[in-house]
Symmetry: C2
Subunit: 223 residues, 2 copies
């Protein structure tokens, strides 16, 4: 059938975007295990997903499968990396060189998929000039705008106290950043055109506490 690469205008949901990333990880596992092709059903069974959903998510971006066969692991992997924008190095700057910021800077999962942690920023003079254990340098916040532009940073990760997060988000937006991953608690306001993703650790724990408090729970998953 005809090519159905999105002609701008249509939005892909957050949920779909997250699943694409999950599929890619599954394919990496399969590829590493030497598996050449995989059907949506096998993929679904092995990673507890729904086969129709996998097909639908993928079909949104093209016809990657072969009827009667399934998907070629390597080929689908390549497509997914392209769709997720991982065909080039994605540059990340982390703001906040506290425990969390330092941990994120050295998180091995980021480098693995082609992210480059270009710098860690902090306003505290005591931290500036030092490096994370993994070797990411800590830079003064006053250099933020300049470095974001010079190093063409794509994504800013916020790991600062809630009281500072809106200011830093504003600074990031002013520096031309269009994607922010926020680990600070509380609500951030960003202008349209900037994609904000919140990872709220307290909400995650409290949500578990809620289910514990009510006794009854299902089995898995998803965040």
């Amino acid at each position: 059938m005809r090519n159905k690469v999105r002609t701008g205008g249509e939005q892909v949901s957050e949920l779909t975007a997250g699943r694409l990333s999950v599929y890619l990880r599954c394919l990496n596992t399969l590829d590493a295990a030497g598996v050449k092709t995989v059907s949506s059903r096998t993929l679904a069974e092995q990673f507890h997903l729904n086969a129709a959903q996998i097909r639908k998510d993928l079909a949104y971006f093209g016809e990657f499968g072969v009827r009667g066969v399934g998907y070629y692991v390597r080929e689908l992997k390549r497509h997914l990396r392209l769709i997720l924008g991982l065909d080039r190095t994605v540059r990340v700057a982390i703001v906040g060189a506290g425990n969390l910021g330092l941990a994120l800077a050295d998180y091995p999962g980021f480098r693995q998929e082609g992210f480059e942690i270009a710098a860690l920023f902090d306003a505290e003079q005591e931290k500036v000039g030092r490096k994370s254990r993994g070797g990411v340098r800590i830079v003064d916040m006053s250099e933020f705008r300049k470095l974001v532009k010079r190093d063409s940073i794509d994504i800013v990760v916020l790991a600062v106290p809630a009281s500072a997060s809106q200011d830093v988000a504003n600074a990031a937006v002013a520096a031309g950043i269009r994607a922010i991953l926020n680990f600070s608690p509380g609500t951030l306001k960003v202008p349209p055109g900037v994609k904000l993703k919140n990872v709220d650790l307290t909400v995650s724990l409290e949500s578990l506490s809620f289910f514990l408090a009510r006794g009854e729970s299902g089995d898995d998953e998803e965040a």
Copy 2:
């Protein structure tokens, strides 16, 4: 499929559970600012939520509001803490004393809302016996089961490499744990009756990369 929980016959979604936690944080802010009552509309405007949704979420659990007035901040806060199971100390054990585990152990947001990080577990003998900067002791994994029971741990947080996560999850379940917050990448299988919540850092970043790659945006979102 989304997980639901019984509320006298009704079921509450994961999404609602997360929002309750968000509402509680908003109320803390308002209370700290000396605000006595708040309407769903004011709450919604101030924190960019939807007023009807706030009312509906709260109405699941009782009639906390007063028509013509709104909600009494202190009272609603108390109710929410009860609903979220935060009226008693919730005990948390973290497995994995790497960068991330250590950062989570000292994360101030957890203590603030009444969580107690009882211990950090690791299999590496070199780490055992030491403490996090914040003073959480690192215990040998062989003590895991015993301590989980002795300290009546409620929630286990997984911050171990993907290769170890299923084994640790199994150990947690075997020790009677019914709620797991998983920071390890990959898919975990837990039996029914155990609540699993995944925070996948790579998926979060890749999802942002995806939106950057296709120039889409939208402003906010909740995780």
